[in-house]
């Protein structure tokens, strides 16, 4: 591997010290564990460890929070320089993939559910087994379904650093205008259908609709599929769940909403994204993630909105997803990178993230700041949702079957193809792709 002039090797002295010591006392104030470290195990490095590491991520809006975290990290490890590499979303995956192919991955970087298995199964990610065993990271502190997302074949590679769930944002003013009762936590699909229909009918001359959704898996149809009792990917990850009645039910809800005019049509939703319908005050309800809080809070409708749990189907469900910090398997500076990984997963760092950002930190108990960040809006809904949340469906090559979903499902929603034929086709293609993995 090439060493670029910008990287300096970890000082030999520090490495020898860290490796040579059998017993370690965690300096970062984690558990009082005195677990004997195996030679491959994690041991908190010495506080004067000198290194320069790169930390890559894609969301520039979180940069302030991350810089605050790094400042806290540097109080314990003043000689570790962390270089932040922000790459916009579209380019991030191209870049990381290129780097992985040449084994020049950043020391610490973000992975998300759909991409995680690809990198882990190809040996590009360092497990956190050592850190867990040493008590430096405790997976019980994070939402279980998310922790599972970053576990492959029994090995844990990271813990979530934040999470998001989906909720029903609604516009109180529109409800009042249409004379409809606002959503409650007990709402079912029937309530959704009747309310949205009424709104669309009453306010059609103003071009206002009842409900809008992004028509993608995470915010829209995965939720309703789960609520109907269906699955997207089977438990063992080998077959698709699409050709079941439950899945078809979950998908048909949207077809019906669009057909009845309760929701804008597919071309309308493509031209103008659902969140913009909502922030422009043109739709009464919006299936949105907790992250929509930022855009909504900055828009024209910010003072007249609130949020409720998703209307339930046969069961209640929502999709949960979160990003994880992972260490590159062949990083030159593993010690330092792992130290940062551990720090970022700590309660201290997580609380800071919550205070500064629009994201929900994953560490249980640190989410108060988020819940209170939008007075008048019940953001607690998103936190409570973790009780019944289901992780985003993924596999080793999620992108392959996501592409088939994107190809076949829009026509189902617009009514152009019949749900039974489309789902049978989708399931067949998806199962074939899963088999190839």
């Amino acid at each position: 591997m090439t060493h670029s002039p910008f990287r300096r090797r970890t000082s030999r002295w520090a490495t020898a010290l860290a490796a040579g010591v059998g017993l370690t006392v965690a300096i970062t104030g984690c558990s009082t564990g005195e677990t004997p470290a195996e030679s491959e195990g994690y041991s908190a490095p010495d506080s004067d460890l000198t290194a320069e590491i790169t930390y890559a991520f894609w969301d520039a809006t979180q940069q302030d929070a991350i810089e605050a975290n790094i400042a806290g990290f540097n109080e314990e490890y003043p000689n570790i320089t962390v270089n932040l590499d922000v790459t916009p979303w579209e380019g991030y995956w191209t870049k990381v993939q290129t780097q992985a192919t040449s084994d020049t991955l950043p020391d610490l970087f973000w992975l998300n559910g759909p991409n995680f298995q690809l990198y882990a199964s190809n040996g590009k990610v360092e497990p956190i087994t050592g850190a867990v065993d040493a008590g430096a990271i405790d997976p019980a502190n994070y939402p279980e379904s998310l922790v599972d997302l970053y576990n492959l074949d029994g090995t844990q590679y990271g813990v979530p650093k934040d999470f998001d769930t989906i909720g029903l944002w609604f516009n109180k003013e529109i409800f009042e205008q249409a004379g409809v009762e606002t959503p409650t936590a007990d709402w079912t699909w029937d309530d959704l259908k009747s309310a949205s229909q009424t709104i669309s009918d009453e306010l059609s001359d103003e071009g206002i609709y009842g409900v809008a959704a992004g028509m993608d898996g995470q915010t829209t149809y995965y939720n309703t599929i789960f609520q109907a009792g269906g699955e997207v990917v089977s438990e063992d990850g080998t077959t698709s769940g699409y050709d079941s009645d439950a899945d078809r039910e979950g998908l048909s809800l949207w077809t019906d909403l669009i057909a009845s005019g309760a929701s804008p049509s597919m071309p309308q939703l493509t031209d103008t994204p659902a969140d913009q319908w909502f922030t422009s005050g043109k739709v009464g309800m919006f299936y949105g993630g907790s992250w929509a809080r930022a855009a909504i809070g900055d828009s024209e409708v910010k003072d007249v909105v609130d949020v409720a749990p998703l209307p339930a189907g046969k069961e209640q469900a929502t999709v949960i997803h979160g990003v994880s910090n992972v260490v590159a398997a062949n990083s030159d500076n593993k010690q330092a990178a792992q130290a940062l990984q551990v720090y970022l997963a700590s309660e201290e760092a997580q609380t800071e993230q919550g205070d500064l950002g629009a994201i929900i930190p994953a560490f249980t108990g640190t989410q108060a700041a988020f819940a209170e960040s939008y007075p008048g809006v019940n953001l607690q809904v998103f936190l409570d949702a973790t009780a019944y949340a289901r992780p985003l469906p993924v596999s080793k090559n999620s992108a392959a079957w996501n592409a088939v979903e994107a190809e076949l499902l829009p026509d189902v929603f617009s009514g152009a193809t019949d749900v039974d034929t489309a789902t049978t086709d989708l399931a067949a293609q998806m199962t074939a792709l899963l088999a190839k993995e």
């Binding site: 992004g214 031209d271 103008t272």
Partner: protein, 317 residues
């Protein structure tokens, strides 16, 4: 060099060819090593950074390339799969449609360039800058603005159309129409580029020709068609070649205007988008390599045809 009559006897034609061959050999000798000195720096760089990757891609098109490296030989499987993939043909169709529309901009550019070149035109610089603006702007911003213009429910375009009683479609959300919308933007942004290249070519036309034509009493239009256009053909040829090549490479604009989440994207594929999807989204790099090779052959063929036909319409001094 002299051209013999087509009906010249066999022997005479042969010796003309021999003459040319002889002249060529003589010229080479005279030039000696100089040509190589001129060309080597460029060729070396191109060979290393561009030709070598193409060779690699050619090799990989016959393999199934793992996401992070490692390949297994699969022979022509990728090609067989590609040829029977309906996406290839719809992508080809879309790309050809796009190219056709953008090419329409060339005659327009020729005319505009010659207008701008009128001696004594006031504000000529201003107009040039105006037409060149689209070419300068950052693609991200351009795509955003055009998306807003094209918006079916709230966009300016449909608003204007409604004033004349036309119910505008959802430009970027209707399959078939979306490509046209993207092509309009492509044409708009390439106009400036064509104009400056043609403008440079126009400076090579001696004013003497125009003066003589004036004296003969030729109208401006006549001057345009008999002097400007014929003498501009080498530049027009260049612009056409480049436009076709870059239109076949349609990807960034399509992706930016339609949006990566757009459901009609699978129905509005371009050739390079097909490549990108296979290479970077579904991670089938061997298949992607095969697509790249097919694109290469397609563009190469079209370009070759253009060069062939060049002799018929491009004037050489």
């Amino acid at each position: 060099m002299t051209r013999l009559r087509p009906n010249a006897p066999e022997g005479a034609r042969l010796s003309a060819r021999a003459l040319r061959a002889g002249a060529e050999a003589h010229a080479r000798k005279r030039d000696g090593l100089w040509p190589w000195l001129f060309v080597i720096p460029l060729l070396a760089g191109i060979a290393l950074f561009y030709l070598w990757p193409i060779l690699q891609t050619f090799y990989y098109s016959f393999t199934e390339w793992g996401v992070f490296g490692g390949s297994t030989w699969t022979g022509v499987d990728n090609y067989i799969r590609l040829v029977s993939d309906p996406d290839l043909y719809s992508a080809l169709g879309n790309t050809l449609l796009y190219t056709g529309i953008v090419l329409l901009g060339i005659p327009l550019a020729v005319w505009l360039a010659s207008l701008l070149n009128t001696p004594g035109l006031r504000f000529a610089s201003f107009y040039r800058v105006l037409f060149f603006l689209p070419y300068i702007a950052m693609p991200t911003a351009i795509a955003m603005v055009w998306r807003i213009i094209f918006n079916g429910d709230f966009g300016i375009l449909n608003y204007l159309l409604s004033l004349v009683g036309i119910d505008g479609p959802y430009w970027v959300s209707t399959p078939g129409i979306a490509i046209v919308a993207v092509a309009v933007v492509g044409l708009w942004s390439s106009l400036g580029f064509s104009m400056i290249v043609l403008g440079a070519g126009l400076t090579n036309i001696s004013p003497e020709y125009y003066e003589a034509a004036e004296l003969d009493g030729a109208s401006p239009w006549r001057q345009f068609t008999s002097i400007t256009v014929p003498l501009l053909t080498p530049s027009i040829f260049f612009v056409t070649i480049i436009t076709v090549i870059s239109s076949f490479q349609l990807f960034d604009l399509l992706y930016a205007i339609l949006g990566s989440q757009n459901p009609i994207l699978p129905k509005s594929l371009s050739l390079v988008y097909l490549f990108y999807q296979a290479g970077f989204v579904t991670n089938e790099k061997g298949y992607a390599a095969a697509i790249a090779m097919v694109i290469f052959v397609l563009i190469g063929f079209v370009t070759f045809l253009q060069f062939r036909f060049q002799k018929k319409w491009v004037s050489v001094d």
